[in-house]
Amino acid sequence: MRVAVITFPGSNCDYDLYKAIRLIGGEPAFVWHRQRLQDGFDAVTLPGGFSYGDYLRAGAIARMSPIMEDVLAFARRGGPVLGICNGFQILCEAGLLPGALARNASLRFESRDVLLRVERTDTLFTGDYAPGRILRIPIAHGQGSYEADHDTLDRLEAERRVVFRYVDASGEPTKEANPNGSLNNIAGIISEEGNVMGMMPHPERAMEEILGSTDGRGVFASLARALAAAGAS
């Protein structure tokens, strides 16, 4: 699996993402935002960080980078695209995913482990997880409150496009378990076609026991398995 890791000025999770892809046997490659996306990538990832200092709105300026035209084209051809944290913000700003990420309700930068419930296991990114599994994965963001208008939110829920939800230890999406004020405790969503996923938590920081959790591995392992299966068919 050849995976592009797009880097912007201010990306800071690019090496973690690179290493996460390596850990599950993938072949990552950095692509600077001013370069064009070469052919031959099986998936594209947008890492976390503070592209352009979060000026204007998180992800708003990065979305205008030359590389984003290629990312949009890749996504429209059905290519898998994964945006994590700032990457999720960029995907929303680019219109590849609906809604927006607003300032945390707490007004604080929230950097800690959270619990997520896996809502879908029939996606490219979650096939390796057991249904309803609860994951412990870190978050680290100041603007992660998922916002969308009522119609969009209803549609997302009706179409089962919420992939991860913030929950408590018993798996309930309570207000206390919601670290940022996201509507419906939404932590990650997927596109209508199922090939673009955005999530605020950082699975690439939960890949090794020594870092406290390996619960993030499934995101990358699922993608590798799905791509291998598609390639074999």
């Binding site: 709105r57 708003a60 700003e93 609906p98 809604g99 607003a102 707490s106 916002e147 208008d149 004020g181």
Partner: protein, 90 residues
């Protein structure tokens, strides 16, 4: 071409959580102001640009808002003309 200065007000959509406004609301209350029913924080962007007419300048600013300056999910915008060529020359 004339030079125009535009003031672009990017406003949080009503009904959306505006945590900055809420924090300021509490601070104002603690300073003794009462009777405040709501505080919301938006932003103001000043743009100087050359355009053939005030109308063209305004249209350009509105296009900037739609393309970049405001996120329609969370924000609305309005464009005000601060100064046109005539005022600037006087």
């Amino acid at each position: 071409m004339n030079r125009y200065q535009l003031e672009i007000r990017v406003k949080p959509r009503p009904g959306l959580l505006n945590p900055e406004g809420k924090a300021i609301h509490h601070a104002l209350n603690s300073l003794g102001w009462s009777g405040i029913s709501d505080v919301r924080v938006g932003k103001v962007i000043y743009v100087d640009l050359d355009a053939a007419s005030a109308e063209a300048a305004r249209e350009a600013a509105e296009a900037m808002c739609r393309k970049l300056l405001a996120n329609p999910v969370t924000e609305s915008f309005e464009v005000a003309m601060v100064s046109g060529a005539e005022e600037a020359a006087s």
